[in-house]
């Protein structure tokens, strides 16, 4: 199926100058407050950018203000999730995409590491059981010289 971006658009005349709606800077203030909270009390914060009344260009402006850091990660679970550290340590952009590559949510996480990158506690128990099974399998311990 063709995506909405495939629809050809022809702009006639001079495009209007980009408008600054001024909705990005307040979010940056919220991020600053969250980062101070993380440093002082260790409390992480998630901000749902989908719930912000952004106009055209506001999200891009916010991303420009946040910049890019050293870490980029991708998680392949129920579609890809892109994780980007911003230029501000401890501030992460987490973009959740579905299997068609369309965004389902966009969050800012203010934390030492994004929640999705951590191993899930229930998976640790499953992994331990899987390792035990692997070690006890007959072909896991071949006799010397085999």
């Amino acid at each position: 199926m063709a995506s909405i971006g495939d629809i050809p658009i022809k702009v006639e005349g001079e495009p209007a100058a980009p408008v600054a709606y001024g909705n990005a800077l307040p979010v940056l203030s919220q991020v600053r407050h969250a980062l101070a909270q993380l440093i002082q009390g260790g409390e992480p914060t998630q901000i749902d950018l989908g719930a912000m009344p952004f106009g055209p260009g506001d999200e891009e402006r916010l991303m420009t203000l946040l910049g890019s850091g050293e870490v980029t990660a991708s998680v392949d679970a129920l579609g890809p999730t892109r994780i980007q550290e911003t230029a501000f340590s401890g501030v992460w952009v987490v973009e959740y995409l579905n299997t068609d590559g369309q965004r389902v949510a966009l969050h800012l996480e203010v934390d030492h590491a994004p929640r999705l990158l951590r191993s899930q506690p229930a998976d640790l128990s499953d992994a331990l059981a899987a390792l035990d099974a692997r070690l006890s399998a007959p072909d896991a311990n071949p006799a010397p010289g085999d």
Partner: protein
């Protein structure tokens, strides 16, 4: 393992144990990270803070699939289109996969008696626990039932029979919630809303023409997740989605506060994205989530496309005056009040909303009908 007792207290057989949502998703190859991601997106969908994702995950892990019976009456199928034409596969689809949609005219393969038997079987097997979703208004008990029937059953009889053992009723779309277009003057079919008829069950109104797909599934997700119905506003709409006006969440609001308005659809103000208030935007009197959730997979929404909000999620919006008449300028009145309101900004905003509601009612009284011949003469 806990097993369900084979019979209920009243002697009817208990429904077979169904897989929990967590089991169902893992059986479909969804990892725990995927599940966490699903919950993060679900939190967004339910207009909850992302920090609620672990709580949602814990609740959904053990949630059971509720049975849903979907009744379509006097409607245009736009609400179903809104739900099913969302980008696929999405969180909405995943939620739909986790409910048991036992009856839906548009989506089911069965027809005629077989379809009606499916509805009756779902009602019997899940008595007291199933949800009824209604889209469309219906001719009231005093109206001619012939205006809308299904399988020879009047809409009124089908609704009252189906809701008798339901846990709750969700009225989807402005027709089911408030009567919508069929109820608009002169209301030839005697259309009424679901809440006019159902008095002994909780009725949740998910208004909009159509409603946002994420709001429809968000309400279902909330029931699925927390096992209870959401907090409602004065019109029985979920506060999580209808708690704030379009105006208060609009990205063009700063222009309203500065008194910067588009005067026509192609003037400099329109090109610069200024406030659409004077072009008839009903944002101040309209409560909905379009400004943040947007449409078409979050691509845009009417105001972002340069069109004023029509107020489609409010009661009787069809009869509330012209779509392109500014709220504070009802037919025949001067625009002085509009200018004052525009310049005064935030403090006046709330008052304008209240004023707008009363003026919308006033406009409804002054509503003049026009014949097709008169329209042709104008064109």
């Amino acid at each position: 393992m806990v097993t369900a007792s084979p019979h209920r207290p009243d002697g009817r057989p208990a429904p077979a144990r169904q897989a929990t949502l967590g089991e169902s998703l893992r059986r479909n190859g969804v990892s725990r990270r995927g599940f966490l991601k699903f919950c993060a997106a679900t939190a967004s969908m339910m207009a909850l803070p992302p920090s609620m994702a672990p709580a949602i995950a814990a609740a959904l892990e053990s949630a059971r699939r509720p049975s849903v019976i979907w009744l379509s009456f006097q409607e245009c199928t736009g609400c179903t289109e809104s739900l099913t034409r969302s980008f696929s596969p999405t969180v909405e689809n995943l939620i739909l996969d986790t409910i048991s949609l036992d009856y839906h005219h548009t989506l089911q393969a069965a027809a005629g008696d077989a379809a009606e038997h499916a509805r009756e079987a779902a009602m019997h097997a899940n008595a007291g626990e199933y949800l009824v979703v209604v889209d469309g208004s219906l001719p009231g008990p005093g109206a001619n039932p012939g205006y809308s029937t299904i399988a020879g059953i009047s809409n009124y009889d089908m609704l009252m029979e189906t809701v008798a053992d339901a846990a709750a009723v969700i009225a989807v779309g402005s027709c089911a919630a408030f009567g919508g277009l069929p109820k608009a003057s002169p209301n030839p079919s005697g259309a009424v809303a679901v809440q006019d008829l159902v008095k002994d069950k909780p009725v949740i109104n998910v208004s909009g023409c159509p409603p946002l797909p994420m709001v429809i599934t968000g309400v279902l997700a909330q029931y699925l997740t927390f096992g209870k119905l959401p907090e409602l506003d004065q019109y029985n709409r979920p506060l999580a989605f209808f708690g704030q006006s379009i105006h208060d969440r609009c990205y063009r609001r700063p222009f309203y506060d500065k008194g910067l308005f588009a005067e026509t659809f192609d003037d400099e103000g329109a090109k610069k994205g200024w406030c659409l208030y004077r072009l008839g935007c009903k944002g101040p009197m309209t409560y909905n989530a379009c400004a943040t959730m947007k449409w078409n997979g979050g691509t845009s929404w009417p105001v972002e496309a340069g069109a004023p909000c029509l107020g489609c999620s409010e009661p009787d919006f069809w009869d509330a005056g012209g779509f392109y008449d500014a709220l504070s300028v009802p037919p025949g009145n001067s625009g002085d009040m509009l200018l004052a309101a525009g310049a005064a900004g935030v403090a006046v905003g709330a008052g304008v909303g209240l004023l707008a509601r009363s003026q919308a009612k006033g406009a409804a009284k002054q509503h003049q009908t026009v014949t097709a011949e008169e329209l042709e003469q104008k064109l």
